[in-house]
Each structure stands twice: as structure tokens, then as C-alpha cells.
């Protein structure tokens, strides 16, 4: 479904993402786990078409993002960190704007919107201005806008930052339901998200993948230690990529 080949991104002299290669398939929930400044957000922005790579390729099925960015983006739903939105729009207008940009037909829009309103408990928020909504509602509106065109891949940057436990519960449930038919890639440094959601973990630091593993295997690598301890020991040590570790 998604293939990343030797992806790199430089900002001047700084190499934010270094030679990353991985694939993602249907049914997977992949968390990009790493400390602040590890390169997670840059990688997420490369995958969502906001940044162009310095080198390497991003392939959605057979569509190369560098060659046909617009066609590739039709398969993706993206939720940026803090769900930035146009504050003077109503929640409905924002979702409709996203749907129109993605050429969602009116009939499909109505049925998709109904499903979102039910699944994300949005009925109360829909007619209200975005500036009047709580962070939790804004977040869910962001999810609805990202999924209104039924994408195959959902990409999220720090999706649960600032959400209360109830909002996190609704979010986790929704993402698990989506992943039955799609692929989810989310960046986070919140271990709770990883433990509750991830079927696969890409541990990232200094722009490189340190480990491509599962939550169970990661814990098993240091028996008796919790995920937080494993995370600290792996990301605070000098860079050792998976290949080098083998």
C-alpha cells in the first residue's frame, strides 16, 4: 500500500530525515515513536505531501508522490498537530471545505458525514464556529475532515496531545475501527498511544529508524522493564540503527 524508499530531507546543513525505508500495509497501525526533535514531524510532513523530499521516493500503491503529488494525496487523510483550522468557519463548513477540495460527491458527503457525526459524537459541534469549540471537539472535527473522502491511509502528527481520557478513548476506538480497512501512521512521544494502538512501532531518533518492531517485541527486548524504560534506554543511547544492531 505505502512504500518509502531511502527517504531523506535536509534543511540546509541539517539532515532531519536520513535514508528511511519501510512499507505499510492495510490493517497496520504504525506509530513513529521518538523523542522531541527525532524527525517524526518532518517524516509525517513528507508523507502527507507538505514537504518535498531531498532524495528518496514515496509510493502509494504505484503512484510516486514526486511524480504525481495530487493523485497520491487522494489516498491520504492527514491530521496535523493541534488540528489547525479556519477559526471563523463552522465545523460543518470546515468539513464541507475539505470534502469539496477532495471532490467528494454531495450524496457521499452526506452519508460519510452522518457516519462521522455518529462515530465521533459530533452532532453538538457541527453548527458551531470552530473558534468556540473545545480542543477535543476541534480534534474530532480534524479527524472528520481528514476521513471525509474515505482515504486508504490516515496520517497523524501527535494526535492525542492535550486530550482528556474520555476524548482519548473515543479517538482510540475510532482509529482501531478505521485500521480494519485502512492503514494508520501516527507520530507520537506518548507511550500510552503506542501501547493502546500500535500494531507496529518505528522507533526514530536523529532522523533514522532505530527499530522496526512491535510493542510486544520491544518490551521482550528488555524483560521485566516497562515501555517507558525501554524507550528511554533506546533513545538516550548513541545512534545504533537496526542493521547495525544485528
Amino acid at each position: 500500500m505505502l512504500h518509502i524508499q531511502q527517504l531523506s530531507k535536509n534543511f540546509g546543513d541539517i539532515q532531519a530525515v536520513k535514508d528511511i525505508t519501510f512499507s505499510a500495509n492495510q490493517g497496520e497501525i504504525i506509530t513513529l515513536l521518538g523523542p522531541n526533535g527525532a524527525g517524526k514531524t518532518t517524516l509525517i510532513r513528507l508523507l502527507s505531501g507538505i514537504l518535498s523530499p531531498t532524495s528518496g521516493e514515496i509510493l502509494f500503491d504505484d503512484i510516486n508522490m514526486s511524480e504525481d503529488r495530487v493523485a497520491a494525496l487522494r489516498h491520504i487523510g492527514y491530521i496535523p498537530e493541534n488540528s489547525p483550522m479556519y477559526a471563523n468557519m463552522t465545523a460543518f463548513e470546515f468539513i464541507k471545505y475539505a470534502a469539496d477540495l477532495r471532490l467528494v460527491p454531495e450524496a457521499s458527503f452526506r452519508s460519510r458525514l452522518d457516519a462521522m457525526v455518529t462515530g465521533l459524537e459530533l452532532s453538538e459541534a457541527l453548527p458551531r464556529k470552530i473558534s468556540e469549540l473545545s480542543k477535543g471537539f476541534r480534534h474530532r472535527i480534524g479527524i472528520a475532515a481528514a476521513l471525509i473522502h474515505s482515504p486508504k491511509i490516515l496520517i497523524m502528527d501527535e494526535p492525542t496531545e492535550g486530550l482528556d481520557p474520555n476524548q482519548k478513548y473515543i479517538f482510540h476506538k475510532f482509529i482501531k475501527d478505521f485500521a480494519i480497512k485502512g492503514t494508520v501512521i501516527l507520530s507520537t512521544h506518548i507511550l500510552e498511544d503506542t501501547e493502546n494502538l500500535a500494531t507496529r512501532i518505528l522507533l526514530i531518533n536523529h532522523g533514522q529508524i532505530l527499530q522496526d518492531t512491535t510493542p510486544a517485541r520491544l518490551r521482550y527486548s528488555m524483560p521485566g522493564k516497562d515501555l517507558a524504560t525501554v524507550f528511554r534506554s533506546l533513545t538516550s543511547s548513541p545512534i545504533t540503527t537496526q542493521e547495525e544492531a544485528h
Binding site: 510532513r45 505531501g49 495530487v70 494525496l73 477532495r102
Partner: protein, 239 residues
């Protein structure tokens, strides 16, 4: 059938008419235009069969207003973080740029249209040449297109509104007053040059001439602005 370009166009045009933005800009534009025409242009005493007192000041007035109209188009997207939303949508950079440009240009065109009553009222009190006035409006519209495209380009380069406005204002005044003829004469020693400066082209429209060279000059300026905007967006190192 709607397209992503039209969707962006509608959204941006609606933004101007939400709240008091449109009323404020229209009021300022009309006040400055009328004050300059009547006070500085001595509208009553001059022979204004073609409203020359009004049209002569339009480049300076539009150079003041257009940067304010275009400033939020990209600057706000960067400032509010919605640039991440819009760039992740399946719409080409050029369509995005054109959607925003056409919205700002339409707003500017409405601003120009709001001055049409001046020519109608004037015709009650003196003979007016509607053909020449049409040429002048054409000139103003082309000038507006060029200024809008250049201001949009500047807007895409900064997330600080004050810098965007100031840089845009400076660029438009440079375009208006740069004496390219003099520069070419001094640098290349060519003395016989066709009129290539901004003021020459705008003056053609004021004189009632629809010159192809002048039309192309303003279209070229607009094209340069749109090209810079598209390139800036494609290469934005949003961090």
C-alpha cells in the same frame, strides 16, 4: 461542477465579506480615491471629460490598498498553521495560487466597480467620454491584476503580516517608479528605446489607447507574480 480551484476561490472571497473587512477596505479605498480626485486632482475645475483626476492617482492608491487585501492570503495560512491542512489536500500548487489570486482580484475588481457611479454622476454635469473611461478602467484592472499577483507572491514568503505588507508596498512602489529606461540607457548605452516603464504603459490607458504592448506588459507582470508564488509554495521549507 466545482473544482478545487473554485472551492479555494469561493472560500477566500467569502473571507473578505465575513465581518467588517470588506466594508473597511471599500470605505478606505473610496475615501482616498475621492479625496485625491477632488482635492489633489482639482476634479471640479479641471476638464474631466475622462475623469483623469480620478484615474491618475489610482496606481498609488492601489499600491496602498492591494497589499492589505493580499496580505492574509498566505501569511495567515502560515501564521495559523492551516498551511499544513491546505498543502495536504489533492490540489496542485498552481491551482491553489490561482484560487487565491482570483479571489483577491475579484475583490479588487468589485472595489473598482464601486467607483462607477462617479462617472455616471459626472455625466449629469459635464460631457464625458465613456469610451476613454472604459479604457482607463481596463488599465486599472490590468494594473490591479499585476499588483495582486505580486502582492500574493510576497505574502507567500513571510508569516509576519507587517513584513508582508511593508515588503509588498515597497515592491509595488518600486515597480511604479523604477526608471528602467534610464537604467538601460546608462548600462547598455542604448538611447532609442520604446516606452517600457510602468508610467508609460499606464499613461496609454489614461490617454484612451488600448495598446497591445501595454496589455501584455501588465499580463507579464501578473505572470511573474504568479510564477514566484507557485515556486515559493513548492519550495516552502515549512518547519
Amino acid at each position: 461542477m466545482t473544482t478545487p480551484l473554485l472551492t479555494v476561490f469561493h472560500k477566500e472571497l467569502n473571507e473578505y465579506f465575513q465581518g467588517w473587512t470588506a466594508v473597511f477596505i471599500f470605505t478606505i479605498y473610496l475615501c482616498i480615491s475621492l479625496v485625491t480626485a477632488f482635492y489633489f486632482g482639482d476634479f471640479i475645475n479641471n476638464d474631466n471629460y475622462a475623469l483623469i483626476s480620478f484615474f491618475s492617482f489610482q496606481p498609488e492608491i492601489l499600491a496602498l490598498i492591494v497589499p492589505a487585501v493580499c496580505m492574509p492570503l498566505w501569511t495567515d495560512e502560515y501564521r495559523l498553521g492551516t498551511i499544513e491542512f491546505i498543502l495536504s489536500q489533492p490540489i496542485s500548487y498552481f491551482e491553489l495560487v490561482m484560487g487565491k489570486f482570483l479571489a483577491a482580484l475579484s475583490f479588487g475588481a468589485l472595489m473598482l466597480l464601486s467607483t462607477i457611479p462617479l462617472s455616471i454622476f459626472s455625466s449629469f454635469y459635464m460631457p464625458v467620454s465613456f469610451a476613454q473611461i472604459f479604457c482607463e478602467y481596463m488599465g486599472c484592472f490590468l494594473l490591479l491584476s499585476a499588483f495582486t499577483a505580486l502582492s500574493c507572491a510576497v505574502s507567500s514568503l513571510s508569516k509576519l503580516p507587517l513584513i508582508t505588507y511593508t515588503a509588498s508596498f515597497f515592491l509595488l512602489w518600486l515597480v511604479m517608479y523604477a526608471d528602467i529606461t534610464l537604467v538601460i540607457k546608462n548600462l547598455l548605452g542604448i538611447n532609442r528605446l520604446p516606452a517600457i516603464d510602468f508610467k508609460d504603459h499606464y499613461q496609454n490607458f489614461i490617454n484612451g489607447e488600448l495598446s497591445l504592448a501595454s496589455i501584455l506588459y501588465f499580463i507579464l507582470l501578473a505572470g511573474i507574480g504568479l510564477w514566484i508564488n507557485t515556486v515559493a509554495l513548492r519550495n516552502s521549507q515549512y518547519k
